[in-house]
Amino acid sequence: MNLNVNIQENNNETVVFLDGEVDVYTASILKEKLNPLAEGTNQSIVVDLAKVNYIDSTGLGVFIGVLKAVDKKGSNLKISGANPRVKRLFEITGLNEVMDVEEDQRKEV
């Protein structure tokens, strides 16, 4: 029921590894960690959801917020590694149309 956020900065790509659940409780933790990253210009930010087993509209809202912020700065946001359940939420809500949600390697079960 918790969320761990692990940030790895490479040259001009920042990968944010999330581990746990993104909900109304953990979203504030996530926002705090992502907001400073969104400040930079011409950045490439990848959020890795491989270890996220739960996300709901609060979590999706955080990503919309980040998308708006990075868009202003000419930066780029990409969602990667989402499992089929999590990915499905991006699809249902139409978020995958405005956001770069990476195709998943794993097969649908």
Binding site: M1, E21, D23, V24, Y25, S28, Y54, D56, S57, T58, L60, G61, V62, I64, G65, L67, K68, D71, K72, R85, L89, I92, T93, G94, L95, E97, V98
Partner: protein, 163 residues
């Protein structure tokens, strides 16, 4: 489980840290009844969205002990979950404005960060009713398909064999 109707009642502080506890309880109940993994996930999200709304919108800061109540009716063929608050009289018709998926024909800067909760609830559950009186009460139903296919007309729930 052969009984036609069991009732489970849960009362919690309307605080962010308890929404996950509600999810656990609900997933335990749905698991017991025999819902598929995917259906359990749908139910968890819908209930969490309703609770999140109570936590975020129902009470103003002056309320001393904001509470959310979750009632779960277990029937032969369905689960009926009610999430309610005592946030006071409210016009639930206003909720419907702007509900729906993200609109991709708009520029990114106009995207809204909220407004997806009720849309998800209605998408993931089979039947949803919202009442406002002394607070908001949202009644969500998910039907149980014992090994059958169909019955789900929103075209979203995948049809897996039930364990």
């Amino acid at each position: 489980m052969a009984q036609t109707s069991d009732l489970i009642d849960l009362k919690m502080p309307a605080k962010p840290e308890y929404v996950g506890v509600v999810r656990l309880t609900i997933s335990g109940i749905a698991n017991r009844i025999g819902y598929s993994y995917d259906d359990i996930e749908d139910i968890k999200i819908a209930v969490a969205e309703a609770c999140t709304n109570v936590v975020s919108h129902a009470y103003d800061e002056t309320v001393q002990d904001p509470v959310m109540t979750i009632t779960c009716g277990v029937f032969e063929d369905k689960l009926e979950i009610t999430v309610a608050d005592h946030g006071g009289d409210i016009d639930v018709n206003s909720f419907k404005k702007g509900k729906g998926p993200v609109k991709m024909d708009r520029p990114i800067e106009e995207l809204k960060e909220g407004g997806l909760g009720l849309f998800l609830i209605e998408t993931l559950m089979d039947k949803v009713e919202i009442y406002g009186d002394s607070g908001v009460m949202i009644v969500m139903t998910k039907f149980l398909q014992r090994g059958e296919v169909g019955q789900n007309d929103n075209g979203i729930s995948t049809q897996h064999p039930k364990q």
